[in-house]
Amino acid sequence: MFSSFRLSMAWLHTWFGLVLGYVLMVAFFFGALSVFDREIDRWAIPESRFEPQPMPSFDKVLKPIFQSITPEDEELEAARERVGGPLPEKLPLMNWSAYTTHRDPVLSMYAEFAVTNNPNDPDEHVHGHVTIDPRSGEVLPHDRLKIGSGFFYPLHFSLHLEWQSLGYWIVGLAALVMLAALVSGVVMHRKIFREFFTFRPAKHIRRSTLDLHNLTGVLALPFHFIFALSGLTIFAGIYLPVSETMLKPQAQAHAMEEARAKGLAFKPSGTPAPMASVDAMVLEAKRRWAARDMPGEVGFLQVHHVGDANGYVSIYRAGSDRVALVGQAVHFEASSGRVILEEPPPTPVASINNFLTGLHLQHFRHWLLRWFYVLGGLMGCVCIATGFLFFVEKRKAQHSRQGSNASRWVDALAVTTVTGMVLAALAILVANRLLPVDLPHRGDWEQRFFWGSWMLACGHAVWRSAPVARGRLAPAWREQCWLIAALAVAAVALNWATTGDHLLSTLARGYWPVAGMDLSLLVCAGLAVAAALRLRRAERGSAAPAAAPEAAARDKLVEAPRV
């Protein structure tokens, strides 16, 4: 099929990159935003703009709130569909958990309830959750959308396509293609060292686009590779569900054996039992961490088999000071407060996995590194976007001679996933500040604005990319850049108008979650204006005759082979 190895890799790079690049843009861009998901949450939920808090007292604050949590309506509805009929009157409580990081002022609390009448799944269950202000124990309104951690973050790995985990599979396929694109990209370009230092923005568009594609590709190559790979291994349980299918007997036998060996009950006993002071257990866990020379805060707290004689409490240390996530669990008997087990250090294999997972999820405290993550993610976006542009620039003249619309469609989709995606992200922020505070299902409306504006951007891109079919630049790029600038400035202004938190005040107070968001929005607006002005010059230029033939011929020598 291919005459050489290099050509086969070039084919793979071009066509898989084109088809799945659109998905990769979403994963990389919203992944980059997720690095600051908690900060975006603060911007979007003004009630939560205060300093991060440690885990509050379980006995005094958390316990009564846990007892009031009920299952989510949507989860009950979904469970009814799975069961194929009504659910039992009472859903037995299974466990409680609370999770926080060094960046969380508010605390997320979860409860799990058993659904006992699903004939196909004895482990059927539903969840309930609340978010509280740990200082007062006040429960925050339920339909405040956490735009960062609750919308952008899951978007980057699930596309919010929950049906049959379809979104996870599409993103997983895109991640595999990302890995293959990196391998094939290296194979295609033999002068890889030179590409670290080569960017010729003054050359014609095709040349500088390819320079930028290669530069961002090779400069951040280890970042792209590790993130695509660790993203896949994090969801390996979804992509390769061996423990739920072929190896289910082995997996279950192991889980039960492990629970028995550790003395942690796998199932409730059925005998009710009271609960000892969890605050005392937290003190003991902290004492043990300090004794192991790693004092720390509680990151994750879980009560298993609530109210049962087999109940136990697991307390995990927050991973603010290292790459691996929560760990060093100490397990206590819930009824007595006796230590059942102090989790031994992880095995070498588990350590590697924890490290890789932690590297991707970065819960550690290191702000400079955090910004480098954003930079890496955005370089991924630039790499993919310039891939699209190069595809179009390379073919549009030929397509225009042939009367083909192929380049135009690719360009319209590129506009949709580059500037259109930024527009959608800005639209949800603007909607967040504009919608009435007491609007029922406010969070759902914010999401509708997101998807609606993205669809409008797509429509605009298709409409305003007609000149591409004549070998010119699409005005859609420039127009959407102007809109990005306008929306970004509007978001900052609306934040000021609706909360009073203008930049001078947040900067003076040193409240970086909101100041950082506003500054980033202004930088985004500035870049969009610069891009729009440059695009206008380029559009005027592209109406003129094409570059001199000898320059084009010279460039062809260093370009990738034509496929």
Binding site: L179, L229, L232, A236, V242, M246, Q250, V349, N353
Partner: protein
């Protein structure tokens, strides 16, 4: 390069690659259990390697000249390894 051959190669790279990786992971865990490895460790180790194996299969599916051989190695190898895992798990007591 006709459309059917391209479709077949793409299918081989993804479906064949998946079958091969499934076989690799199940056989890997079965072998790990057979030599006394902890289940979680065996599964985690295989998961860490699985997508590198998939990446190699995927690229090889386009690099290799013979399409029949690509299908044979990926789908056939996957079936064979899955079968071997099945047999091995059956002979090892839980």
């Amino acid at each position: 390069m006709n459309a059917a051959r391209i479709a077949s190669r793409v299918a081989a790279s993804l479906l064949g690659g998946y079958a091969f990786v499934w076989g690799f992971v199940t056989l890997g865990i079965a072998l790990g259990l057979a030599v006394g490895m902890d289940y979680d460790d065996a599964r985690t180790l295989c998961n860490l390697l699985a997508f590198l194996v998939f990446l190699s299969c995927f690229c090889w599916a386009f690099a290799h000249a013979s399409l029949a051989r690509v299908w044979g190695v990926l789908a056939g190898g996957g079936l064979l390894m899955t079968g071997a895992a099945w047999w091995l798990l059956g002979t090892t007591a839980l």
